[in-house]
């Protein structure tokens, strides 16, 4: 269908006002939850790698949908349904622009990064990976970029190979080079490690995969929220991310897949919306992306995601990346002054994630005590047990920053660590 002017199709209300000046203090006002308190303390939300907070614009877009636009898509001949369809498809176009895909038909809406990877492993994987083939992953991978490949490998008799990391948490590129072979069918690699913050050289890795005759999947769950993304520049065949980590709602995410590959992939789930004609003798499928969106999709989620992408685009991903880097340096400087604290993961190229351990306190205790100070951080293995095993530790405490965090949040964290010292030190 024709995509109208994006905002008018989705909006039916006030457009998102682009921010011309990036002042974190102004931006904080856009996030209702940042005005709340926890245990009577100002909230310092430092668990952005787990999920991000939502600006008013996103909440409003979703509310607006249920208030005045709600109808099912792709089926009604009446006004509301056509409007909902237009809004949903405009959201797809918004995603396309945001990641600079060549064509909106390369954008499949899914539940999140996890479902996107499972879709690729199930659909593309079962059609293309055979006994004896190899899939290359890395030690840095989130469990969601390990387990679907293990399931596939078990099913078809393929083998997983793993790129190790060095002490800093960077991928060993020489090892990667050695692992590539004519048996390699796919390289599936994270763009930014959620546990350590390492930014991997995806562009180069994709090129190497292609040279070896393999396809490449990039897990962008942690890069999309923090770096400008251009899937054509990266040149990967698959790119996945979750809406909720970039100020959007939960339950919506994206699989980007190069057109020629996507059209050739067999369906993932069967149902309504993904078909052309159905008889008991034979069903023909709709072209991608509909072919991969069986059933009524998460319409309000897609609209919320588009509102989120508009919102961060209004600030500018370049400026977000620049600001977060400054804040990362500030936080690392402050934390390195805390006695007994060791930062785990010190890659030269790093997003705003700091994993650390304290010599005198288990991460779990650190998390509980910081919570009492209004500081929300993540503790545990961060769905990255292979990373923990690599460093021989059961868990870390992890601080992950977003553009709405400020030095005040970092200072509150450092102050909170003082309390940890008082209680446990």
């Amino acid at each position: 269908m024709a995509v109208k002017s994006m905002k008018s199709a989705r909006g039916r209300g006030e457009a998102v006002v682009p921010l011309t000046v990036f002042s974190p203090d102004d931006i904080r006002g856009d996030f209702p939850i940042l005005q709340t308190t926890v245990h009577g303390k100002r909230l310092a939300y430092l668990d952005n790698a787990a999920t991000s907070q939502k600006p008013q614009a996103v909440i409003a877009a979703m509310t607006r949908f249920y208030y005045s636009q709600n109808a099912n898509i792709h089926r009604g001949v009446y006004e509301l349904s056509m409007e909902a369809t237009a809004a949903y498809e405009a959201a797809r176009e918004c995603v396309r622009q945001f990641i600079n895909a060549a064509d909106f038909r390369e954008v499949v809406f899914v539940r999140g990064a996890t479902e996107a990877i499972n879709l690729v492993a199930t659909s593309w994987g079962q059609a293309n990976v055979r006994a004896g083939d190899e899939i290359i992953l890395s030690t840095l991978e989130h469990h969601s970029n390990i387990v679907p490949w293990q399931i596939l490998a078990d099913r078809v008799g393929a083998r997983l190979r793993v790129i190790p990391i060095n002490e800093a948490g960077e991928l060993c590129m020489e090892e990667y080079e050695k692992l590539l072979s004519p048996r390699t069918r796919l390289v599936a690699i994270t763009h930014v490690s959620n546990a350590l913050g390492t930014i991997t050289p995806v562009q180069r890795m994709v090129r190497m995969a292609h040279t070896a005759g393999a396809l490449a999947l990039v897990d962008g769950a942690q890069s999309v929220p923090h770096l400008p993304i251009d899937v054509r520049d990266i040149d990967c065949d698959f790119f996945v991310f979750s809406g909720h980590k970039i100020c959007g709602p939960t339950g919506i995410g994206v699989l980007y897949c190069r057109q020629a590959i996507l059209q050739a992939m067999p369906p993932y789930q069967g149902g309504g919306d993904m078909i052309e004609t159905v008889t008991f003798a034979k069903t023909t499928y709709a072209p991608a992306p509909q072919k991969f969106e069986a059933g009524t999709p998460n319409i309000s989620g897609a609209l919320g995601l588009a509102a989120a992408l508009d919102y961060v685009s209004g600030i500018g991903m370049d400026r977000i990346a620049g600001y977060e880097h400054q804040l990362l340096l500030y936080a690392q400087e402050k934390l390195s002054q805390v006695k007994g604290l060791k930062i785990v993961g010190t890659a030269a190229e790093k997003a705003a994630v700091i994993s650390f351990v304290l010599s005198y306190a288990h991460p779990h205790d650190v998390g509980t005590i910081l919570d009492g100070q209004g500081v929300a951080i993540r503790t545990g293995h961060h769905c990255c047990q292979p990373v923990m095993d690599r460093y021989g530790i059961p868990a870390t405490a992890r601080v992950s920053l977003a553009f709405y965090n400020t030095r005040a949040d970092v200072d509150q964290l450092v102050q909170g660590l003082q309390t940890v010292k008082e209680v446990l030190g």
Binding site: H362, G380, V423, L424
Partner: protein
């Protein structure tokens, strides 16, 4: 802060830093592994039973202050107890952490373990405090499967 002081009482911190009965035992005794995948706590509990009485009990592993202290204090309170008493202590301990209901609780049996009452205000930490106990039960049952709390 007052809740935190309730949680991290001196006795708990002392056991966390200096765990008692913290050693392995010969292969001949019963043992089981416990794992809390949420926070990565792992421990192993060893128990030697004779005539329905816990003759010796120890543990090894690594975990947060709450799980380590709980394991340590469990070994102290159960050594020399009959299995029936141990079960009653476990039930009282469990009530202490979860319901705050004093009705079925045997304060005398609980003894020093009452310091774990503060954990009740931190529901996500209850699993830390009960890990060693569930692991002990597995050891007593002779279960080969590692215990998981999540």
């Amino acid at each position: 802060m007052s809740d935190l002081r309730e949680l991290y009482q001196e006795v708990i911190l002392d056991h966390a830093k200096h765990p008692r009965n913290f050693h392995t035992m010969p292969d001949s005794v019963r043992a089981a592994d416990g794992h809390n995948p949420l926070c990565g706590d792992r421990l192993k509990v060893f128990v030697q039973v004779e005539d329905g009485v816990i003759r010796d009990i120890s543990f090894t592993g690594s975990g947060c202050a709450i799980s380590t202290a709980s394991a340590s204090m469990m070994t102290e309170s159960l050594k020399g107890r009959s299995l029936v008493e141990a079960q009653a202590i476990f039930e009282s301990f469990h009530d202490l952490l979860t319901t705050g209901d004093h009705a079925d609780r045997d304060e005398e049996l609980l003894g020093k373990l009452a310091v774990f009452g503060g954990v009740r205000e931190f529901p996500v930490r209850v699993k830390c405090a009960t890990l060693a106990w569930h692991t002990l039960q597995a050891a007593l049952k002779g279960s080969a499967e590692p215990v998981k709390t999540e």
